[in-house]
Structures are given as C-alpha cells and as structure tokens.
Symmetry: C2
Subunit: 219 residues, 2 copies
DNA sequence: CTTGCTATTCACCGGCTGGTGACAAGTTGG
DNA sequence: CCAACTTGTCACCAGCCGGTGAATAGCAAG
C-alpha cells in the first residue's frame, strides 16, 4: 500500500481492528488475572480453563503458561488476591455500635457475612467449588479464604470473651455453614429448602431467622 | 490358530474377555442406571457424561440414547429413583420416642438428616451439584429431592403444631442448610469453618452444636 | 431355513480441551 | 547496524467429548 493511499484514506476502523495490543507485561498479567476472576465469577468453575481465560483476556494462552506457570499458578494468584476480600467487603469496626455481648458480636458478624456473600459472585463460586472438588487448586483457594475470614473474626472479636460452656467453634461453624448454603442455593435456584429467596422481603425473613438462631444460642 | 492348539491350550481367560453380554434389555437398562449412580456418587458431577457412564456400564453409549433418550433422561431416572431415598434412609416412625414438642421433633429430624446425608455419597454429590449449576437436569433432580424431603417432614410432624410467632419455614431452612453445607465441606476437606470433622468425636461436637441451636430456637 | 425384530456394537464426525515448539514483532544495549 | 532479549502470536498435536448412521449378532415366529 502506498503512503499516498494511506493519507487519502480516512482512518476508518476496520471491524476486526487488532487494536494493536501494546507490549506491556504487567498490563497483560493483570488482564489475565481479571479475565480469570470475571470468568470464574460469571461462568463458574465448570468451564474454567486455560483456553477460556485466554479468550477472555484477549491474548494467547501461552502467556498464561509463561506468566503464571499454568492454571494452577493463576488460581493461586486469585487466592492471593482474595486475601484482601474481607477487608474490602466487610468493615472491621463495629459500625458505631457497642457490642456488649458475644451474642451482639455474632449477630452482627452473621448478618455482615450474609450480605457480603450475597454481593460477591466470585466468592460464591469459590465456595461452591470448595464443596464440589478436592483438587490442590481448590484446597489452596479454600485455605486462603478461610484464613482471611478467621483473621477477620478474630480482630472483630476484640476483647470480648466467648461464653463458657458452649463450643463456640462448632456452633459458629454451623452458623456460617448455614449462611453459605443458603446464599448458594438462593443464587442458583431462588430458594432453599422450601424457603423462597428472591425478594427483599424474603431475605428479611431469612435475616430474622438467622438472628433468632444466633440469639437462641448466645442469648 | 489350529483347533489342536485350541485344545491343548488351557482355557485361560484372556484378560480382555468380552464376557459375552447376554441379550437382556431390562438388565442393561439397570446396569446403565447403576453405573450412572455409582459414577455420580464416586466421581462427582464433573466428569459425569455419556461416555463415562457407557464405559462404567460396559456397554455402548448408543444404548443410553436408545433406552433413556440421552443423559437428561438418565438423570431424570436417577431423580425418580431418588424419590424412595427418604423412605430407605430415614425411618418414618419416632423410634419409640415420644415427640412431645416441636423442638423434640426438629432435633430428631436434624440429627437423622445429618447422619443420612453423611452415609449417602450420591445424595451429597447431588446437593453439591445443586449449588453449582443451574441446568434443567439439576433442577429436576433438585425438585425430586426437596419434594421427597418435604413430604417426609410433613409425615413426621404428624399432629404436632409448630410454635406461634416463629417463622418455622425460614428457621428450618437455615438448619437444613447448615447440615448440608457442614456435611459437604466435611466430606471434601475434613473440616468446616475451622471445625475439624474427621473423628467420631468431632462429629459428636457437631451434633451437640446442632442440638443446641435447635433447642435455642424451639426450646 | 428364512424373514423379521430387537439388542448391541462399531466407525466415524466436528468440536473443544490442555499443552508445546517454532516463529514474528518490538525493545534495548553495544 | 547488529545482536540479544522480551513480548506476543500461530500452528499443530493427541485426546476426549457428545452425537449419529450403519452394520452386526442373537432370538422368535412363519
């Protein structure tokens, strides 16, 4: 093509404009990580693979191998990112509320966690993944998540002493398990064990039940 | 190969003995269904497909199309089978116990369900499937399961009236959600939210916590 | 035996997957 | 200008997937 031609022609974007990807490793790495998180959040872990991520990031899959050492490394990077999840999603102050009792604390924690999980599709997919597969990938992701969560609860607890005579670890595990399954089930099917979970009013019912359970145990 | 050779040779079973599958449609259908259930229970829904089931049943996948109309039909057949699950796994009498209060009832129900789910890998896989994917297949399976369960609870409840002023549907949904997630998480990773779930003693702790929660709500 | 019917298997297709080796396009330094 | 390195692309592989059309094997009635 002559240069004259180039000048005369209006620079109409050809539809398949390659967009001239700039040579920038850091940006590409970020694009890959973002694509991976988006894909996992939106499509779930079922169709989560090298090809899909590369397609989503608009680059060649080879780069995923180069920069992350394959899917495993990429998943691990997601897990690292996840460390900051709790801090981003959940305030670590008491919201100006005085938490006088352990029951106050747990009620607030439970409701915060419920809302945070409802608002975060990526986290939900990871939780579903955790109970579906037992690969090294998922195990690491799971660890990162539970560690972050445990740390947050610990900080939140402050100097409050748990009640005597109650196995708080076991009881809290049940409570968090309930929240997780409730939110997962609701997201997929709009209900859980016969309880509709679509409208705001439905969720108020769930929150009330949750509070009742927490208060029933911790007073 | 000469016939003399055949006579001289001891009838050692060749490793790839075709086993001369007998011509029996009913038996084949059953073999397919069994293989499907076994595969789903043991491997999970991830690698659950036509080819895998056919391999497991030791027949050609074509037969799955012919007899069940494809994977969907097969899954539906599993769902139908599942209808009898509750009856098989959970006694519908009160075990010689007098259930005087709604709390008595729910405590017993919760513990029975916990044990039943722990003992049934197929059911666990299905529950995990339910919170991971939202296809027509899974939806039907999910419906069959919840319907059977609801019916069982209804029968079990008998003439006992639920307490006033408590949203039992919501509270029970939370309780069953807790049980399901607890068991799923335990099966995959041996723990749930920091609570170890491996030894019998661990499970006793969980049962105690569950009882405490139920009693906390229903007295 | 021959003619059907049914159960079962076989061979093949296109498409997608994870994975790899070679190559092109820029960038930097001598 | 050339050489060396980094970034990115492409082409290709074997393997599995779901799905389909045709052939084969056993049985039963005529």
């Amino acid at each position: 093509m002559s240069s004259a031609n180039a000048v005369l022609r209006k620079p109409i974007e050809t539809p398949a404009e390659p967009e001239k990807r700039v040579r920038n490793r850091a940006a590409t790495e970020q694009a890959i990580l973002d694509a991976a998180k988006r894909l996992l959040a939106e499509e779930g872990f079922q169709n989560f693979g090298i090809n899909a991520v590369a397609r989503g990031a608009g680059c060649d899959k080879q780069l995923i191998y180069r920069y992350y050492g394959g899917l495993d490394g990429l998943v691990e990077a997601i897990g690292t990112d996840l460390g900051g999840w709790v801090q981003d999603r959940i305030p670590d102050d008491t919201g100006g509320m005085f938490l006088l009792t352990y029951g106050d604390l747990m009620e607030r924690l439970a409701l915060l966690f419920l809302d945070a999980l409802r608002a975060d599709p990526l986290m939900r997919r990871i939780v579903a993944w955790e109970v579906s597969e037992n690969t090294e990938q998922v195990r690491r992701l799971s660890e990162a998540r539970s560690k972050a969560l445990a740390g947050w609860i610990e900080r939140m607890r402050g100097s409050l002493t748990p009640p005597k005579g109650i196995d708080t670890v076991a009881v809290n595990a049940m409570i968090f398990a309930a929240i997780q399954h409730l939110v997962l089930s609701a997201t997929i099917s709009g209900q859980c064990a016969g309880l509709a979970l679509k409208t705001a009013k439905d969720w108020e019912k769930a929150a009330t039940a949750l509070k009742r359970i927490v208060r029933g145990v911790y007073g």
